[in-house]
């Protein structure tokens, strides 16, 4: 471990590599986490299937590539398909648990996660898959640091998507209805907002966002039917750290988590890369407990 720290000091350029890798991947984490924040904040449903939605999006990208279409186009299909899937899941399951207690929604979404995992396993098998972007890879700073174009592209796309969602939430009628429902569902209902529709839309929107995140992940990392849980945990860490009314917080926490993972992997070894995530969740929870405030959090 000390050797590794020493290495970072001796070759400071390695920090650039770790930082870049962390930021690029962190942007995707932030995207998926924003979706979770939405569902959590608006519906008070803690979606344990969040990561599995991401993986589903990934498999859509993989299938797109298998059909001979460039997987980046899955960024169009995946959100559409996942929106439909989200809607179906909402009608089928979530609508029945949305006003129940925390435990019921946790169990329900956990069940959905298992069904998705096993379903993907049946369809695609348990071997890992990837989607190849075929984009160029650049060496910078004398070849010690490499940046693949797909990471840059995905970073930009994440920003665009996030911007799109934020604008939608601020400007559109549905966005306003979602925010109103988040603030006070009863009052929203009195004002003539169909909160059931709002919930359905929010849940589907989250699935669509996850789908997009999954497409990007699959072009950078590899996926497998059972990898969803790590992505769920990442989203939970980020949202817990940032709070769900706090988009800048989600972005910062997402990027920070990406970087922390890379450093964790480098210094402690790859085995501890994900331990870093869970360790941070613990720290965040303790810290939250300490500074627990009674301020009501809303989605802005």
């Amino acid at each position: 471990m000390l050797d590794n720290l020493n290495l970072l000091v001796l070759a400071p350029l390695l920090n650039v590599q770790l930082l870049l890798d962390g930021l690029f991947i962190g942007a995707i984490f932030a995207l998926a986490a924003y979706g979770l924040a939405l569902v959590w904040g608006v519906m008070n449903v803690k979606n344990l299937a969040q990561g599995d939605f991401v993986i589903m999006g990934g498999y859509i990208a993989y299938s797109t590539g298998e059909l001979g279409i460039h997987p980046i186009f899955a960024l169009i299909f995946a959100p559409v398909i996942m929106f439909g899937f989200g809607w179906a899941i909402y009608r089928l399951v979530i609508s029945r648990v949305v006003d129940r207690d925390l435990f019921t929604s946790l169990l329900a979404t956990f069940g959905i996660a298992i069904v998705i995992q096993q379903g993907l396993n049946l369809i695609y098998g348990s071997d890992v898959v990837t989607a190849q972007s075929g984009f160029a890879i650049r060496s910078i700073l004398g070849g010690l640091v490499t940046v693949s174009d797909i990471r840059v592209v995905s970073f930009v796309l994440c920003a665009v998507l996030a911007l799109g969602v934020v604008t939608f939430m601020k400007k559109s009628r549905m966005g306003q209805a979602i925010r109103a429902t988040a603030q006070d569902p009863r009052a929203a209902r009195v004002m003539g907002i169909n909160t059931d529709r709002v919930y359905a839309f929010t849940f589907s929107l989250n699935a669509a966002i996850c789908g997009a995140a999954g497409v990007l992940i699959t072009m950078i990392w590899v996926i497998q039917p059972f990898f969803g849980i790590t992505h769920s945990i990442r989203s939970f860490v980020i949202v817990t750290a940032a709070g769900f009314g706090n988009l800048p917080g989600v972005i910062v926490a997402g990027l920070g988590l990406g970087v922390a993972e890379q450093y964790g992997g480098f210094v402690l070894g790859a085995e501890f890369q994900q331990v870093t995530v869970v360790g941070m969740l613990l720290l965040v929870l303790m810290w939250r407990q300490v500074q627990q405030s009674r301020v009501r959090q809303v989605v802005r």
Partner: protein, 413 residues
């Protein structure tokens, strides 16, 4: 259906099933057929390879029966295998082994798929003193328990990448360097199989006095190893070895390309099952991959002919195979060992047959088979194949090599 009706139907169904299942108590030989038994993964996460293994068993049984069967005494017996689906779960596998032995009276077992399942079943066969020839459990730990009735035709896991170390030493000497100057970076998943592979590498590396500069463990749900590769990039080792099942191979292959890792020699397990050539194309050129068996090897026997003949026959018999997985080949080899042992024992007594198995020394299309006292096959080496222009070519050990090794790797330079 009303609840009562449903219950009754279930009861009748169960009754019928148990009637069907309760065959003769001692079914090791039915008429002129010798019954082998196997719990194998036909569903669940190992089903792909489980089915490969089953096809391998079936092909060998078919071949042996076509060639007149097994001659014991003056009588020719046919072979038949009874299968149960273990659903890829060890507990189920152990149950089914018990059922095969106690209820079905099977006295000769073929192995399941994977080390984990074999580990679960071996204690059962050992308890009833039923010999089992397995073909799909490579873990070293299977052969340190003192089992007397367990035999494996395949090479054990610590041999998987050890050959890459001797190859690196060979190349170092050829280039006028000392093997002790070779620096190794290792990334192994933290699971029993990969740790076995690692142990083999570490043993051989210390034999040559090589220096290990990176020694990372990979997590079970690995999807990113760029942090490890950043270290590799900085420390510039001469050899990088990776083992983490197919996800390890896929992740490594992708990120080795992406990070332009210029290590002159890279070896990893599970290249074939991860399909890295299809996925990542030319970037995987010159990567070394160990394999139990390859159809290009010049092994031969009197049943299937050469390895290439086996390959052809297998593809002609079963649909949907572009290449024949070694899992199928070694399963076939296990059945050949049974035939050979029955005939040498010239008896159907399980203990006599067990002793005959222990004394096996035969050449097969799958390689030489001779068991150590622990039951593992010590006569067949692991071979190293190198991806050359998208083809897997055998490059080591030199006795079986069909192509010279490319060193250093061109890709990534």
């Amino acid at each position: 259906m009303k609840p009562l009706g449903f219950l009754r139907a279930t009861a009748i169904g169960l009754g019928a099933l148990s009637l069907a299942a309760s065959g003769p108590a001692n079914a090791k030989v039915e008429g002129d057929t010798i019954i082998l038994g196997s719990a194998i993964s036909l569903t669940g996460k190992y089903s792909t390879n489980g089915i490969h293994a089953q096809n391998g068993y079936e092909l060998a049984v078919k071949k042996i029966n076509e060639m007149g069967g097994v001659k014991v005494g003056d009588k020719n017996y046919k072979l038949k295998v009874v299968y149960y689906d273990d659903e890829s779960t060890p507990a189920r596998g152990a149950q089914l082994a018990e059922r095969l032995i106690k209820q079905d009276g099977v006295q000769y077992m073929l192995g399941p798929y994977s080390s984990g399942l074999t580990k679960a079943i071996a204690p059962v066969t050992e308890k009833y003193q039923i010999p089992m020839i397995e073909a799909e459990g490579a873990s070293r730990s299977l052969f340190t328990q003192g089992y007397k009735y367990l035999f494996a035709v395949l090479s054990t896991s610590e041999q998987y990448l050890a050959s890459s170390i001797s190859l690196a030493a060979e190349i170092a000497e050829k280039n006028g360097k000392k093997p002790a100057d070779v620096r190794i970076a290792m990334a192994f998943e933290n699971d029993p199989f990969s740790l076995d592979v690692r142990a083999g590498v570490v043993d051989d590396a210390s034999k040559y006095g090589m220096q290990i500069v990176v020694d990372d463990k990979l997590p079970r749900d690995l999807s990113d190893m760029s942090a490890t590769l950043t270290k590799v990039k900085a420390l510039k080792p001469d050899l990088l070895v990776v083992s983490g099942h197919s996800k390890g191979a896929a992740t490594a292959a992708r990120q080795i390309e992406e990070m332009r890792i210029a290590t002159p020699m890279i070896a990893m397990t599970h290249c074939e099952s991860a399909g890295i050539v299809d996925k990542f194309g030319a970037a995987t050129n010159d990567i070394l991959c160990p394999t139990q068996w390859a159809e290009t090897l010049s092994y031969e026997d009197g049943y299937f002919g050469t390895a290439a003949d086996y390959d052809e026959l297998f593809k002609a018999t079963f649909d949907g195979y572009k290449t024949v997985p070694y899992q199928a080949a070694q399963a076939s080899a296990a059945v050949l060992v049974w035939k050979d042992a029955f005939e040498r024992a010239n008896s159907l007594d399980k203990d006599k047959v067990r002793d005959a198995i222990a004394a096996t020394d035969m050449s097969t299309f799958y390689g030489q088979i001779r068991f150590s006292d622990q039951g593992n096959n010590i006569a067949k080496p692991m071979v190293l194949r190198q991806i050359q222009d998208g083809q897997y070519n055998v490059v080591a050990p030199s006795k079986w090599a069909s192509h010279p090794v490319n060193y250093p790797r061109v890709a990534g330079q």
